[in-house]
Symmetry: C2
Subunit: 208 residues, 2 copies
Protein backbone atom coordinates (compact mmCIF):
# COMPACT_ATOMS: atom_id res chain seq x y z
CA UNK A 1 0.00 0.00 0.00
CA UNK A 2 1.51 3.37 -0.98
CA UNK A 3 0.35 6.69 0.46
CA UNK A 4 -1.58 8.98 -1.78
CA UNK A 5 0.77 11.70 -2.92
CA UNK A 6 -1.64 14.53 -2.19
CA UNK A 7 -1.96 13.45 1.47
CA UNK A 8 1.77 13.40 1.88
CA UNK A 9 2.19 16.65 0.02
CA UNK A 10 -0.50 18.27 2.12
CA UNK A 11 1.66 17.78 5.19
CA UNK A 12 4.77 19.40 3.80
CA UNK A 13 5.63 22.81 5.11
CA UNK A 14 3.76 22.14 8.32
CA UNK A 15 6.85 20.50 9.83
CA UNK A 16 5.11 17.14 9.72
CA UNK A 17 6.46 13.90 8.40
CA UNK A 18 5.34 13.23 4.83
CA UNK A 19 3.77 9.91 3.75
CA UNK A 20 5.90 6.87 2.92
CA UNK A 21 6.95 3.52 4.38
CA UNK A 22 8.73 5.29 7.23
CA UNK A 23 5.56 7.18 8.06
CA UNK A 24 3.58 3.98 8.31
CA UNK A 25 6.21 2.45 10.60
CA UNK A 26 6.33 5.63 12.69
CA UNK A 27 2.56 5.46 13.17
CA UNK A 28 2.75 1.80 14.26
CA UNK A 29 5.55 2.64 16.70
CA UNK A 30 3.63 5.56 18.15
CA UNK A 31 0.52 3.40 18.37
CA UNK A 32 2.35 0.61 20.20
CA UNK A 33 3.60 3.09 22.81
CA UNK A 34 0.24 4.80 23.12
CA UNK A 35 -1.73 1.56 23.54
CA UNK A 36 0.75 0.39 26.16
CA UNK A 37 0.67 3.67 28.05
CA UNK A 38 -3.01 4.55 27.75
CA UNK A 39 -4.84 1.29 27.13
CA UNK A 40 -7.03 0.52 24.17
CA UNK A 41 -9.93 2.84 25.00
CA UNK A 42 -7.95 5.93 25.91
CA UNK A 43 -5.47 5.72 23.06
CA UNK A 44 -6.75 8.04 20.32
CA UNK A 45 -5.87 8.07 16.64
CA UNK A 46 -5.38 11.83 16.93
CA UNK A 47 -2.92 11.42 19.80
CA UNK A 48 -1.07 8.67 17.96
CA UNK A 49 -0.80 10.92 14.88
CA UNK A 50 0.60 13.70 17.07
CA UNK A 51 3.17 11.37 18.64
CA UNK A 52 4.20 10.13 15.19
CA UNK A 53 4.40 13.70 13.89
CA UNK A 54 1.90 13.14 11.09
CA UNK A 55 -1.47 14.52 10.15
CA UNK A 56 -4.39 12.44 11.55
CA UNK A 57 -5.62 11.97 7.97
CA UNK A 58 -2.53 9.90 7.26
CA UNK A 59 -3.40 7.51 10.10
CA UNK A 60 -6.82 7.00 8.55
CA UNK A 61 -5.20 6.62 5.18
CA UNK A 62 -3.01 3.74 6.32
CA UNK A 63 -5.28 2.04 8.84
CA UNK A 64 -8.95 1.18 8.83
CA UNK A 65 -9.65 2.30 12.39
CA UNK A 66 -8.29 1.73 15.86
CA UNK A 67 -8.82 -2.04 15.96
CA UNK A 68 -6.85 -2.49 12.73
CA UNK A 69 -4.03 -0.30 14.02
CA UNK A 70 -3.92 -2.20 17.30
CA UNK A 71 -3.79 -5.52 15.43
CA UNK A 72 -0.89 -4.15 13.43
CA UNK A 73 1.04 -3.32 16.63
CA UNK A 74 0.48 -6.97 17.65
CA UNK A 75 1.97 -8.11 14.32
CA UNK A 76 -1.44 -9.34 13.18
CA UNK A 77 -1.58 -8.35 9.51
CA UNK A 78 -5.34 -8.51 9.33
CA UNK A 79 -8.14 -6.20 10.32
CA UNK A 80 -9.99 -7.74 13.30
CA UNK A 81 -13.24 -6.15 12.13
CA UNK A 82 -13.01 -8.00 8.82
CA UNK A 83 -12.33 -11.29 10.58
CA UNK A 84 -15.26 -10.77 12.90
CA UNK A 85 -17.49 -9.95 9.93
CA UNK A 86 -16.40 -13.14 8.22
CA UNK A 87 -17.14 -15.20 11.36
CA UNK A 88 -20.56 -13.59 11.70
CA UNK A 89 -21.53 -13.80 8.04
CA UNK A 90 -21.48 -17.56 7.48
CA UNK A 91 -23.87 -20.27 8.59
CA UNK A 92 -24.97 -19.46 12.16
CA UNK A 93 -25.04 -23.18 13.04
CA UNK A 94 -21.26 -23.37 12.55
CA UNK A 95 -20.24 -20.02 14.03
CA UNK A 96 -18.40 -21.55 17.00
CA UNK A 97 -16.25 -23.79 14.82
CA UNK A 98 -15.52 -20.93 12.39
CA UNK A 99 -14.49 -18.69 15.28
CA UNK A 100 -12.02 -21.24 16.66
CA UNK A 101 -10.63 -21.78 13.16
CA UNK A 102 -10.19 -18.03 12.60
CA UNK A 103 -8.69 -17.52 16.05
CA UNK A 104 -6.11 -20.26 15.45
CA UNK A 105 -5.29 -18.78 12.02
CA UNK A 106 -4.40 -15.53 13.75
CA UNK A 107 -2.42 -17.16 16.59
CA UNK A 108 -0.65 -20.08 14.97
CA UNK A 109 2.10 -18.41 12.90
CA UNK A 110 5.06 -18.44 15.32
CA UNK A 111 6.30 -14.91 14.61
CA UNK A 112 2.87 -13.49 15.36
CA UNK A 113 2.18 -15.74 18.29
CA UNK A 114 5.18 -14.33 20.06
CA UNK A 115 3.69 -10.82 20.24
CA UNK A 116 0.27 -12.13 21.23
CA UNK A 117 1.61 -14.47 23.89
CA UNK A 118 3.71 -11.59 25.24
CA UNK A 119 0.54 -9.51 25.60
CA UNK A 120 -1.34 -12.26 27.43
CA UNK A 121 1.69 -12.97 29.60
CA UNK A 122 2.05 -9.28 30.47
CA UNK A 123 -1.63 -9.04 31.30
CA UNK A 124 -0.95 -11.24 34.35
CA UNK A 125 1.36 -8.73 35.97
CA UNK A 126 0.74 -5.38 34.27
CA UNK A 127 -2.52 -3.52 34.65
CA UNK A 128 -1.84 -1.79 31.31
CA UNK A 129 -1.64 -5.10 29.48
CA UNK A 130 -4.63 -6.48 31.42
CA UNK A 131 -6.65 -3.49 30.26
CA UNK A 132 -5.70 -4.19 26.66
CA UNK A 133 -6.88 -7.78 26.94
CA UNK A 134 -10.11 -6.67 28.65
CA UNK A 135 -10.88 -3.90 26.22
CA UNK A 136 -9.66 -5.44 23.00
CA UNK A 137 -10.05 -9.20 23.27
CA UNK A 138 -12.88 -9.11 25.81
CA UNK A 139 -14.98 -6.37 24.33
CA UNK A 140 -13.92 -5.50 20.77
CA UNK A 141 -13.61 -9.11 19.64
CA UNK A 142 -15.71 -11.48 21.76
CA UNK A 143 -18.09 -8.85 23.11
CA UNK A 144 -18.89 -7.70 19.59
CA UNK A 145 -19.54 -11.21 18.40
CA UNK A 146 -21.79 -11.94 21.39
CA UNK A 147 -23.76 -8.75 20.73
CA UNK A 148 -24.23 -9.66 17.08
CA UNK A 149 -25.53 -13.15 17.80
CA UNK A 150 -28.16 -11.71 20.12
CA UNK A 151 -26.94 -13.60 23.20
CA UNK A 152 -29.13 -12.95 26.23
CA UNK A 153 -26.23 -11.54 28.26
CA UNK A 154 -23.66 -10.52 25.63
CA UNK A 155 -21.11 -9.35 28.18
CA UNK A 156 -21.15 -12.60 30.13
CA UNK A 157 -21.37 -14.76 26.99
CA UNK A 158 -18.59 -12.87 25.25
CA UNK A 159 -16.32 -12.91 28.30
CA UNK A 160 -16.85 -16.64 28.81
CA UNK A 161 -15.85 -17.24 25.19
CA UNK A 162 -12.83 -14.98 25.75
CA UNK A 163 -11.95 -16.89 28.93
CA UNK A 164 -11.89 -20.19 27.04
CA UNK A 165 -9.69 -18.79 24.29
CA UNK A 166 -7.33 -17.09 26.77
CA UNK A 167 -7.12 -20.39 28.66
CA UNK A 168 -6.46 -22.24 25.40
CA UNK A 169 -3.62 -19.90 24.47
CA UNK A 170 -2.04 -20.22 27.91
CA UNK A 171 -2.45 -24.00 28.12
CA UNK A 172 -1.22 -24.52 24.55
CA UNK A 173 1.58 -21.99 24.13
CA UNK A 174 2.68 -20.88 27.60
CA UNK A 175 2.15 -23.57 30.23
CA UNK A 176 2.12 -26.32 27.55
CA UNK A 177 -0.31 -28.68 29.26
CA UNK A 178 0.04 -32.11 27.59
CA UNK A 179 -2.93 -32.80 25.36
CA UNK A 180 -3.93 -29.30 24.40
CA UNK A 181 -0.29 -28.34 23.70
CA UNK A 182 0.14 -30.97 21.00
CA UNK A 183 -3.43 -31.37 19.69
CA UNK A 184 -3.86 -30.76 15.98
CA UNK A 185 -5.69 -27.73 14.74
CA UNK A 186 -8.53 -29.99 13.54
CA UNK A 187 -8.91 -31.59 16.98
CA UNK A 188 -9.08 -28.19 18.64
CA UNK A 189 -11.68 -26.95 16.19
CA UNK A 190 -13.74 -30.10 16.74
CA UNK A 191 -13.62 -29.90 20.55
CA UNK A 192 -13.75 -26.13 21.08
CA UNK A 193 -16.25 -25.37 18.30
CA UNK A 194 -19.31 -26.60 20.22
CA UNK A 195 -18.16 -24.77 23.36
CA UNK A 196 -17.90 -21.41 21.59
CA UNK A 197 -21.17 -22.19 19.83
CA UNK A 198 -22.77 -22.82 23.22
CA UNK A 199 -21.49 -19.58 24.74
CA UNK A 200 -22.26 -17.34 21.78
CA UNK A 201 -25.14 -18.81 19.80
CA UNK A 202 -27.11 -21.49 21.59
CA UNK A 203 -27.50 -19.26 24.63
CA UNK A 204 -29.33 -16.76 22.45
CA UNK A 205 -32.01 -19.33 21.75
CA UNK A 206 -32.91 -20.11 25.32
CA UNK A 207 -36.33 -18.84 26.37
CA UNK A 208 -35.88 -15.95 28.80
CA UNK B 1 -5.09 -32.23 64.16
CA UNK B 2 -2.60 -33.11 66.89
CA UNK B 3 0.35 -35.42 66.36
CA UNK B 4 0.27 -38.81 67.97
CA UNK B 5 2.61 -38.77 70.92
CA UNK B 6 4.29 -42.05 70.05
CA UNK B 7 5.26 -40.78 66.58
CA UNK B 8 6.83 -37.71 68.06
CA UNK B 9 8.55 -39.71 70.77
CA UNK B 10 9.88 -42.16 68.19
CA UNK B 11 11.90 -39.39 66.61
CA UNK B 12 13.62 -38.24 69.77
CA UNK B 13 17.24 -39.13 70.19
CA UNK B 14 17.75 -39.35 66.43
CA UNK B 15 18.53 -35.65 66.28
CA UNK B 16 15.32 -35.05 64.36
CA UNK B 17 12.60 -32.60 65.09
CA UNK B 18 9.86 -34.15 67.23
CA UNK B 19 6.17 -33.91 66.28
CA UNK B 20 4.08 -30.86 67.11
CA UNK B 21 2.55 -27.83 65.44
CA UNK B 22 6.03 -26.52 64.57
CA UNK B 23 6.86 -29.79 62.88
CA UNK B 24 3.79 -29.62 60.72
CA UNK B 25 4.62 -26.03 59.73
CA UNK B 26 8.23 -27.03 59.03
CA UNK B 27 7.05 -29.79 56.70
CA UNK B 28 4.77 -27.37 54.84
CA UNK B 29 7.62 -24.86 54.50
CA UNK B 30 10.02 -27.53 53.23
CA UNK B 31 7.35 -28.79 50.84
CA UNK B 32 6.69 -25.31 49.46
CA UNK B 33 10.40 -24.86 48.70
CA UNK B 34 10.75 -28.34 47.28
CA UNK B 35 7.72 -28.06 44.98
CA UNK B 36 8.97 -24.69 43.74
CA UNK B 37 12.51 -25.96 43.16
CA UNK B 38 11.77 -29.44 41.80
CA UNK B 39 8.27 -29.34 40.41
CA UNK B 40 5.40 -31.53 41.48
CA UNK B 41 6.66 -34.83 40.05
CA UNK B 42 10.24 -34.64 41.23
CA UNK B 43 9.50 -33.38 44.73
CA UNK B 44 9.52 -36.45 47.02
CA UNK B 45 7.97 -36.83 50.45
CA UNK B 46 11.25 -38.36 51.61
CA UNK B 47 13.24 -35.34 50.37
CA UNK B 48 10.76 -32.97 51.98
CA UNK B 49 11.08 -34.86 55.28
CA UNK B 50 14.87 -34.59 55.06
CA UNK B 51 14.69 -30.84 54.35
CA UNK B 52 12.33 -30.37 57.29
CA UNK B 53 14.58 -32.50 59.52
CA UNK B 54 11.84 -34.98 60.38
CA UNK B 55 11.30 -38.68 59.86
CA UNK B 56 9.36 -39.47 56.66
CA UNK B 57 6.76 -41.27 58.79
CA UNK B 58 5.81 -37.91 60.27
CA UNK B 59 5.05 -36.49 56.84
CA UNK B 60 2.70 -39.39 56.22
CA UNK B 61 1.24 -38.90 59.66
CA UNK B 62 0.29 -35.30 58.95
CA UNK B 63 -0.55 -35.44 55.25
CA UNK B 64 -2.49 -37.91 53.16
CA UNK B 65 -0.03 -38.04 50.27
CA UNK B 66 1.74 -35.61 47.96
CA UNK B 67 -1.38 -34.01 46.48
CA UNK B 68 -2.70 -33.16 49.94
CA UNK B 69 0.66 -31.69 50.98
CA UNK B 70 0.85 -29.64 47.80
CA UNK B 71 -2.69 -28.32 48.38
CA UNK B 72 -1.60 -27.32 51.89
CA UNK B 73 1.32 -25.29 50.49
CA UNK B 74 -1.24 -23.50 48.32
CA UNK B 75 -3.32 -22.69 51.41
CA UNK B 76 -6.03 -25.08 50.25
CA UNK B 77 -7.15 -26.79 53.44
CA UNK B 78 -8.66 -29.75 51.66
CA UNK B 79 -7.30 -32.92 50.13
CA UNK B 80 -7.65 -32.69 46.32
CA UNK B 81 -8.11 -36.46 46.11
CA UNK B 82 -11.15 -36.26 48.36
CA UNK B 83 -12.64 -33.44 46.30
CA UNK B 84 -12.06 -35.37 43.09
CA UNK B 85 -13.69 -38.45 44.62
CA UNK B 86 -16.69 -36.39 45.61
CA UNK B 87 -17.01 -34.95 42.08
CA UNK B 88 -16.74 -38.41 40.56
CA UNK B 89 -19.08 -40.15 42.97
CA UNK B 90 -22.32 -38.27 42.35
CA UNK B 91 -24.74 -38.40 39.44
CA UNK B 92 -22.69 -38.66 36.23
CA UNK B 93 -25.20 -36.45 34.37
CA UNK B 94 -24.30 -33.51 36.61
CA UNK B 95 -20.55 -34.05 36.91
CA UNK B 96 -19.61 -30.90 34.97
CA UNK B 97 -21.74 -28.65 37.17
CA UNK B 98 -20.46 -30.31 40.35
CA UNK B 99 -16.88 -29.84 39.19
CA UNK B 100 -17.34 -26.11 38.56
CA UNK B 101 -19.06 -25.77 41.93
CA UNK B 102 -16.22 -27.58 43.71
CA UNK B 103 -13.56 -25.63 41.81
CA UNK B 104 -15.14 -22.32 42.80
CA UNK B 105 -15.43 -23.46 46.42
CA UNK B 106 -11.67 -23.98 46.45
CA UNK B 107 -10.85 -20.71 44.64
CA UNK B 108 -13.37 -18.22 45.98
CA UNK B 109 -12.14 -17.54 49.54
CA UNK B 110 -9.92 -14.45 49.06
CA UNK B 111 -7.05 -15.57 51.30
CA UNK B 112 -6.72 -18.82 49.40
CA UNK B 113 -7.26 -17.31 46.00
CA UNK B 114 -4.22 -15.15 46.52
CA UNK B 115 -1.87 -18.16 46.66
CA UNK B 116 -3.58 -19.88 43.74
CA UNK B 117 -3.63 -16.77 41.55
CA UNK B 118 0.05 -16.25 42.38
CA UNK B 119 0.79 -19.77 41.12
CA UNK B 120 -1.11 -19.25 37.86
CA UNK B 121 0.47 -15.83 37.40
CA UNK B 122 3.95 -17.26 37.98
CA UNK B 123 3.29 -20.07 35.53
CA UNK B 124 3.31 -17.44 32.74
CA UNK B 125 6.93 -16.48 33.33
CA UNK B 126 8.49 -19.25 35.41
CA UNK B 127 9.04 -22.72 34.02
CA UNK B 128 8.95 -24.09 37.58
CA UNK B 129 5.47 -22.71 38.18
CA UNK B 130 4.34 -23.76 34.69
CA UNK B 131 5.43 -27.30 35.50
CA UNK B 132 3.37 -27.23 38.71
CA UNK B 133 0.27 -26.17 36.80
CA UNK B 134 0.90 -28.81 34.11
CA UNK B 135 1.60 -31.64 36.53
CA UNK B 136 -0.81 -30.79 39.30
CA UNK B 137 -3.80 -29.00 37.76
CA UNK B 138 -3.42 -30.56 34.31
CA UNK B 139 -2.70 -34.14 35.26
CA UNK B 140 -3.46 -34.79 38.95
CA UNK B 141 -6.77 -32.95 38.94
CA UNK B 142 -8.31 -32.72 35.46
CA UNK B 143 -6.36 -35.62 33.94
CA UNK B 144 -7.51 -37.91 36.75
CA UNK B 145 -11.12 -36.90 36.34
CA UNK B 146 -10.97 -37.42 32.56
CA UNK B 147 -9.44 -40.87 33.05
CA UNK B 148 -12.17 -41.83 35.51
CA UNK B 149 -15.01 -40.79 33.23
CA UNK B 150 -13.63 -42.96 30.44
CA UNK B 151 -13.14 -40.06 28.03
CA UNK B 152 -11.85 -41.25 24.63
CA UNK B 153 -8.70 -39.11 24.86
CA UNK B 154 -8.34 -38.40 28.58
CA UNK B 155 -5.25 -36.24 28.16
CA UNK B 156 -6.87 -33.96 25.59
CA UNK B 157 -10.23 -33.93 27.38
CA UNK B 158 -8.64 -33.23 30.76
CA UNK B 159 -6.36 -30.52 29.41
CA UNK B 160 -9.24 -28.80 27.62
CA UNK B 161 -11.20 -28.77 30.89
CA UNK B 162 -8.08 -27.41 32.63
CA UNK B 163 -7.68 -24.74 29.92
CA UNK B 164 -11.24 -23.50 30.51
CA UNK B 165 -10.74 -23.33 34.26
CA UNK B 166 -7.34 -21.62 33.95
CA UNK B 167 -8.94 -19.13 31.53
CA UNK B 168 -11.81 -18.60 33.96
CA UNK B 169 -9.46 -17.87 36.84
CA UNK B 170 -7.43 -15.42 34.75
CA UNK B 171 -10.45 -13.67 33.25
CA UNK B 172 -12.25 -13.48 36.61
CA UNK B 173 -9.49 -12.73 39.11
CA UNK B 174 -6.47 -11.41 37.19
CA UNK B 175 -7.48 -9.62 34.00
CA UNK B 176 -11.01 -8.99 35.33
CA UNK B 177 -12.87 -9.13 32.02
CA UNK B 178 -16.30 -7.52 32.54
CA UNK B 179 -19.00 -10.17 32.67
CA UNK B 180 -17.05 -13.11 33.97
CA UNK B 181 -15.38 -10.95 36.63
CA UNK B 182 -18.67 -10.02 38.27
CA UNK B 183 -20.89 -13.00 37.43
CA UNK B 184 -22.43 -14.78 40.39
CA UNK B 185 -21.27 -18.20 41.38
CA UNK B 186 -24.63 -19.61 40.25
CA UNK B 187 -24.32 -18.02 36.80
CA UNK B 188 -20.84 -19.48 36.36
CA UNK B 189 -21.99 -22.95 37.40
CA UNK B 190 -24.91 -22.73 34.99
CA UNK B 191 -22.80 -21.62 32.02
CA UNK B 192 -19.59 -23.56 32.64
CA UNK B 193 -21.25 -26.77 33.87
CA UNK B 194 -22.31 -27.98 30.40
CA UNK B 195 -18.88 -27.10 28.98
CA UNK B 196 -17.02 -29.23 31.53
CA UNK B 197 -19.66 -31.92 31.08
CA UNK B 198 -18.98 -31.83 27.35
CA UNK B 199 -15.23 -32.11 27.73
CA UNK B 200 -15.21 -34.78 30.41
CA UNK B 201 -18.36 -36.87 30.12
CA UNK B 202 -20.28 -36.45 26.88
CA UNK B 203 -17.12 -37.06 24.88
CA UNK B 204 -16.86 -40.49 26.49
CA UNK B 205 -20.18 -41.46 24.94
CA UNK B 206 -19.34 -40.66 21.36
CA UNK B 207 -19.03 -43.72 19.14
CA UNK B 208 -15.38 -44.17 18.19
Amino acid sequence: MTPRVEDAAAQRGRGRRPGGPDTRAAIVDAARSSFAANGYDKASLRGIARDAGVDPALVHHYFDGKAALFAETMAVPVNPSELIERVLEGDRERLGWRLVDTFLTVWEPPERREALVALVRSSMTSEDAARMVREFLGREVFGRIASSTGAADPQLSGSLAASQMIGLVIARYVVRVPGVATASRAELIERLGPVLQGYLVDEARRPE
